[in-house]
């Protein structure tokens, strides 16, 4: 049985003017378990807290009820007061008789009656309170960044600068990501690699950064502050320490027919390759599916020409296990596949290309050496048509429901660059809406129209028809002129929608980070916690969270880094003690609770139990206190009531219900 003290606050006249505090105090003494009751002008004052202190000491109180203002106001104050007097702070309950009573009722009798009931409910709850202690968990002072694009690079650099070691895991042979494939960037038109390459060098050289390229995350265990991650370092077949990056092997490699991933398949690469000249690390990998040595056993040219003796055909995948305190996801995006858009003839004509393919064509290091030409016959185009929103803003299953956000701007960039470099080429853009929210964005678009004479037509294209003479007949509509347009073009560029990197689903599952129907990672709060995942210790950087352009990506990357640093800077994490707990004798191990847990805090283990003499091994739910935030979703999902929430237990809430309805 508890020894409960009830303290009724006047709050000056805020409470006392409407609630008969003396009566409430007197009524308290009739309640079971109450051994002390008093009222005071301001319970939250020093003097008020002293009264509480004294009563705890003198009456050996085991629980407190404070009838005062909202617990959102002073719960912490009274908990601290209790702790100072040696009482567990979680043995305190607040009856909110100000905001929920005196301030909203006028009739003294009515308000007093309600205050007594609220007090009874709090007493009923404190009767079932148990002392709680916040848990502590350690923080491993190391961060993992998944993805080595501009988002991952920026996040890693910022964390490294703050003095914490960071590992980047990048799936491809080089960091750089999508940005390395771009030619110029809007709205400033600076060269993409000119701004990216130094960053790549910087991150590579940073003493706090360790980069695993050609590597993938294999598994993730643990929780905030203490993740254990297995990284699969795929066999590169080249010794990274020995290779000097001279490039002879690539030159001499006889297998040169593999479509280049970096150039979006517009040209080919050798079997031993670095994706692009500025690759970091500048160490090639052998594509074992394309390599003649691996396919037939005969060849070995690269090994012969390598003076450093770096070629190692026997290399095997390596699993690296590392501990991290924080994980940042920066897995980026890809363009959607266009196989469902037959009407735009993408698969029928080589001259219908995507915008990212155009980037490579425009790039000096690209398949055409930066010269704008038709891929079918190498001729210079005279008429170019850009089609917007291919697969974006789409209500059916062919495309994506969202706006890809970057297409309007990069199309303006492309149009402008083409008109600038090839003034004789006519450029027509078919658009639905031109969206340019961003600093200097609309000005940029207007320049394309006004200074460069790009022809913008409001209306979507219905069909692109390849003609026998190699031209492309574009059938579109001009909605403002109310005309149907038939236009012959030499090249058509499709602004295909972007989608999160398909690997993200696998990664999100490993991290128990939630993901939306479009495969974008969900943020902990759409407005207030946009760079955190609901799963503690997981942060989001770049397009994996939603479509964005480079400056936005970089700012988010910095924000994610700050959040990660904030976590790494802590020596220990105090965990909320109001967490869920499963009664092992009642748990069915059915996994329903884990399905609703937003934090992935529930796992299962096989454990031997002694159920009143029956010993058996059972599958049981185990809640990780460090991850559980105490929402209670699991408690209602659990049919047997095995899962309960400390501080808001089933019996406590039922006791409150009973007290109110009495």
């Amino acid at each position: 049985m508890q020894r409960i003290g009830v303290f009724v606050c006047h709050c000056g006249t805020n409470i006392a003017a409407t609630v008969d505090v003396k009566k409430v105090t007197e009524m308290a003494l009739h309640e079971p378990g109450v051994v002390h009751a008093e009222d005071y002008q301001y319970m939250c004052s020093e003097a008020g807290q002293e009264l509480i202190h004294k009563a705890i000491k003198e009456k050996h109180l085991t629980g407190l009820v404070v009838c005062s203002c909202s617990p959102r106001m002073h719960e912490t104050t009274f908990r601290n007061a209790a702790e100072k007097a040696g009482l567990n702070p979680y043995m305190v309950e607040i009856a909110n008789i100000r905001e929920h009573c005196s301030w909203i009722h006028k009739d003294i009798e009515e308000a007093t009656e309600k205050a007594v009931i609220l007090m009874r409910a709090a007493i009923a709850k404190v009767n079932l309170d148990a002392p709680l202690k916040p848990g502590e968990s350690k923080v491993t002072k190391r961060a993992l960044v998944i993805g080595g694009g501009i988002a991952g690079i920026q996040t890693a650099l910022d964390i490294a600068e703050a003095g914490y070691p960071v590992d980047i895991v990048e799936k491809t042979p080089s960091i750089g990501g999508r940005m390395s494939q771009l030619d110029k960037t809007f709205p400033t038109l600076d060269c993409s690699s000119c701004i990216l390459t130094p960053k790549m060098g910087e991150v590579n050289a940073h003493p706090n950064v360790n980069i695993y390229t050609y590597s993938e995350v294999e598994s993730v265990a643990g929780f905030v502050g203490d993740f254990t991650v297995e990284i699969r370092k795929k066999a590169r077949s080249v010794d990274m320490d020995k290779c000097t990056g001279c490039g002879v092997c690539q030159e001499k490699c006889p297998s040169k027919k593999t479509p280049s991933e970096f150039n979006r398949g517009l040209d080919t690469r050798s079997a031993i390759y670095t994706p692009f000249a500025q690759a970091v690390p500048n160490v090639p990998v052998i594509d074992r599916d394309a390599c003649i040595k691996f396919k037939t056993g005969k060849c070995g040219v690269c090994s012969k020409v390598c003076q450093a003796g770096a070629i190692d055909y026997d290399q095997v995948d390596e699993i690296i296990t590392e501990k991290y305190g924080a994980i940042v996801v920066a897995t980026g995006f890809d363009m959607i596949k266009l196989d469902k858009y037959d009407e735009y003839a993408y698969s029928q004509s080589k001259d219908v290309i995507t915008s990212l393919e155009l980037e490579r064509i425009m790039n000096a290091a690209g398949p055409t050496g930066g010269h704008l030409e038709r891929l079918s016959d190498g001729k210079a185009p005279k008429e170019m048509v850009f089609i917007q929103c291919v697969g974006s803003r789409c209500a059916d299953e062919r495309g994506k429901s969202y706006c890809s956000k970057v297409c309007c701007m990069y199309t303006a960039k492309h149009a402008m660059l083409i008109r600038d470099k090839y003034p004789d080429v006519n450029v027509t853009v078919f658009y639905i809406d031109v969206r340019t929210p961003g600093k200097n964005f609309d000005e940029f678009y207007r320049r394309a129209v006004e200074e460069y004479g790009v022809n913008y037509i409001k209306g979507q294209v219905g069909k692109v028809i390849p003609q026998p003479d190699g031209k492309l007949l574009v059938q579109g509509a001009d909605l403002l002129d109310n005309k149907q347009i038939l236009k012959e073009a030499d090249m058509v560029v499709l602004a295909a929608a972007i989608e999160p990197n398909p690997d993200v689903r696998k990664i999100a599952t490993m991290l128990t980070a939630s993901i939306d129907t479009n495969n974008f990672l969900t943020e902990a709060h759409a407005k207030l916690r946009p760079v955190e995942s609901p799963t503690a210790g997981i942060f989001l950087s770049g397009v994996c969270q939603g479509p964005k352009d480079i400056p936005e990506t970089v700012s988010q990357a910095g924000a994610a880094a700050v959040k990660a640093i904030g976590l790494l800077a802590k020596d220990k994490l105090l965990t909320n003690p109001c967490t869920a707990h499963s009664d092992e004798l009642m748990c069915n191990g059915c996994s329903q609770c884990a399905n609703v847990c937003p934090y992935g805090a529930i796992s299962y283990e096989d454990k031997e139990v002694n159920d009143h003499g029956v010993r058996e091994v059972r599958r049981l739910a185990v809640v990780n206190d460090a991850l559980c935030q105490g929402c209670g979703a699991c408690t209602v999902t659990c049919p047997s009531g095995a899962m309960d929430l400390q501080g808001f237990s089933n019996r406590q809430i039922l006791a409150e219900v009973d007290a109110i309805c009495r």
Partner: protein
């Protein structure tokens, strides 16, 4: 049936399974009981006929703890329950050898008795191989007949289909027995006035004796300790002292199995007081289908059930009032 027996004996003999879970003939023509068969000679009593309505899935919870595999005979509808139990990790698929047995609709002795047929000595036409549409019943008071269809369990009139959801092999043909709309009764109640609804359920539930047969037979009610038996939740009830407790028990039970109930109909089959308990479960199934998309528990191994899932655009609870 002989094919089933032969195959079971074969699997037992070659050590594939350690025991067979099927039905043993009863001492009356209509009361076979679930039973384990471990030796060749046990099979003398093995039976599989129209009265083998019992869903053996639930027995597999205990059988999963035994040494070796258990061969279990599951009817098409039973396999939904089994799969749902697999999903909830309550049975071990590796410990089960499932023979999907054919079904031509199971019989309800209560329906036969309700026709005024009493003093039953023998029933023919209930064997699984019989093509007969009629049951011939020998009684102390003379021979009676009734149509097979008229003696079928309610659940067979709204059969989910002839396919087994999970099995190692199947033996025997099934027959399409569905001839009624699954939600017809629910709709009839929905159309009533609140007073009529209340009177209807008050009357039905007043018969409840809290024997817990519905709960204990239910494959979805597989809790080691039911909330209604547990002091931990402050919700233990052993008897219905007030009519409120009848409602509390049945509403909460239906709620706890909502999204997990396969509509196997065992609750209604076993209720000694003939309470149409499936009306609770089916109401939830209907609501789930209408509000969150058609869903059949036990038809797949997707971990999330309708109540452990959501969509942003889900209906608001106010829809209940709006629907009227």
């Amino acid at each position: 049936m002989q094919e089933l027996i032969n195959r079971a004996k074969e699997l037992l003999a070659d050590g594939t399974v350690a025991r067979v879970l099927g039905w043993k003939a009863g001492d009356l023509p209509y009361n076979p009981e679930p039973a384990y068969f471990e030796k060749e000679e046990d099979f003398a009593d093995f039976v599989y006929n129209g009265f083998c309505g019992a869903n053996l899935s639930k027995y597999m919870i205990e059988a999963s703890k035994l040494e070796g595999k258990t061969l279990v005979c599951l009817k098409p509808c039973d396999t939904y329950s089994f799969q749902e139990l697999m999903k909830e990790h309550r049975v071990d698929r590796d410990k089960a050898y499932i023979i999907g047995v054919g079904c031509k609709g199971k019989l309800d002795i209560e329906k036969i008795k309700a026709m005024g047929i009493k003093g039953i000595q023998g029933i023919s036409g209930a064997e699984i191989e019989d093509a007969a549409e009629t049951l011939t019943i020998q009684t102390i008071y003379g021979e009676k007949t009734c149509a097979y269809k008229d003696a079928m369990l309610e659940r067979c009139h709204v059969c989910k289909g002839k396919d087994h959801m999970v099995f190692d092999e199947t033996i025997g043909e099934s027959k399409e027995t569905k001839d009624a709309d699954r939600f017809e009764e629910v709709e009839k109640i929905e159309a009533m006035s609140p007073e009529e609804k209340f009177a209807f359920f008050q009357k039905e539930l007043s018969k409840c004796i809290r024997c817990n047969a519905c709960r204990n037979v239910c494959p979805a009610c597989s809790c080691r300790k039911c909330v209604f038996d547990s002091n931990k939740f402050d919700s233990a009830q052993k008897a219905n002292v007030d009519s409120f407790e009848e409602k509390m028990f049945h509403i909460i039970r239906a709620f706890h199995v909502a999204g997990r109930c396969t509509d196997c109909g065992e609750c209604s089959r076993v209720c000694p007081q003939g309470i149409p308990l499936h009306l609770f479960n089916r109401k939830f199934i209907k609501d789930i289908d209408e509000l969150y998309g058609e869903y059949q528990a036990g038809a797949d191994m997707e971990p999330r059930t309708p109540l452990t899932d959501y969509r942003f655009e889900d209906a608001e609870p106010g829809i209940v009032a709006e629907r009227g």
